[in-house]
């Protein structure tokens, strides 16, 4: 019996589970947080370089104007915006503001949509 229980399978395939919108906002908060932590050293380095001289600033500017890099930057803008908005949402809910189910659903949608829009605008500006 014991051996069998230890070998018991578990169903936990996240791709086969339908997540409510709040969970999606929350997963996005995690992912964006990781992205921000990973990108911070690079961004700091870029800032440091760009302040060095006009020539280095120009090099960096050309670097980020390539289309695929604009997409990358838009991703970071998304990460920053989503992390901020979802973070504020979590903080408010922690003190009991908007923690009812329907309000929480609305604010989750709002954070997701707003961050996506900001990222799209950023991408459009860089590509233009």
């Amino acid at each position: 019996m014991r051996a069998r229980v230890e070998a018991a399978p578990k169903f936990l395939n996240l791709l086969q589970i339908r997540f409510p919108i709040g969970a999606i906002a929350s997963i996005g908060h995690r992912i964006s947080g990781v992205l921000l932590v990973l990108s911070l050293p690079l961004l700091a380095l870029a800032l440091d370089r760009s302040l060095h001289s006009e020539a280095e600033f120009a090099v960096l500017r050309d670097l980020v104007s390539a289309p695929w890099r604009a997409v990358l930057l838009a991703l970071l803008v998304w990460a920053a915006t989503h992390h901020l908005l979802a973070g504020i949402r979590h903080l408010l809910m922690d003190v009991g503001i908007g923690s009812g189910l329907s309000q929480a659903r609305t604010s989750a949608w709002a954070a997701i949509v707003a961050a996506a829009i900001v990222a799209l605008i950023a991408a459009a500006r860089w590509l233009a």
Binding site: A8, K10, G22, A23, S99, L101
Partner: protein
Amino acid sequence: MRLSIYRFNPETDLKPRMQDYELAPEAGDKKLLDALMRLKTIDDSLSFRRSCREGVCGSDAMNINGRNGLACLTPLVGLKEPVVLRPLPGFPVIRDLIVDMTQFFAHYHSIKPYLINDTVPPERERLQSPAEREKLNGLYECILCACCSSFCPSFWWNPDKFIGPAGLLQAYRFISDSRDTATAERLAYLDDVYRLFRCRTIMNCTEVCPKGLSPSHAIERIRQALVRESS
């Protein structure tokens, strides 16, 4: 109707598999549980729990098209086909849709789900005012089906340490009870990074509770009570 059901027999299978079924529901078949019972007359090896067939016993919780719910409260009308049925996520599978709830109930017992009051009982009963009784609404109705805990990401990652939404809702049910005198001890037990504070307010629990309860709200109230306690 078409169904796709998770099958696992520990005696013959090394791995779970999905099995497809075709079924013609009959006139009286209104809920998913009715369809499952009919299926059982065709394939009696299919295993699932059920008893009350009306949302009271909490035994037929399962993952229905990706969301946890009770088969007996899920109308057949409006279900997307094939209806995909899997056991509750994150729980060890005993067979087919039957999961091992040992740990779930261990968490439930850990919060001492009974009235604690060492004062001498009155002649007849411990009375409550209507307002005090009102506080138990939305808490006492829990049927311990585990839909919530098994849909909680925090519970998936720490099933042994996090009490989970169902246990915490019950903990709050006794914290709110005016007749219970162990509030301080109950709160002290919960004041722990894992037991209570693994909850990240994702609210999956409240999304799926078939009784319309809100474990996330109970958890919020416990946190508030802890803050009050310490200030």
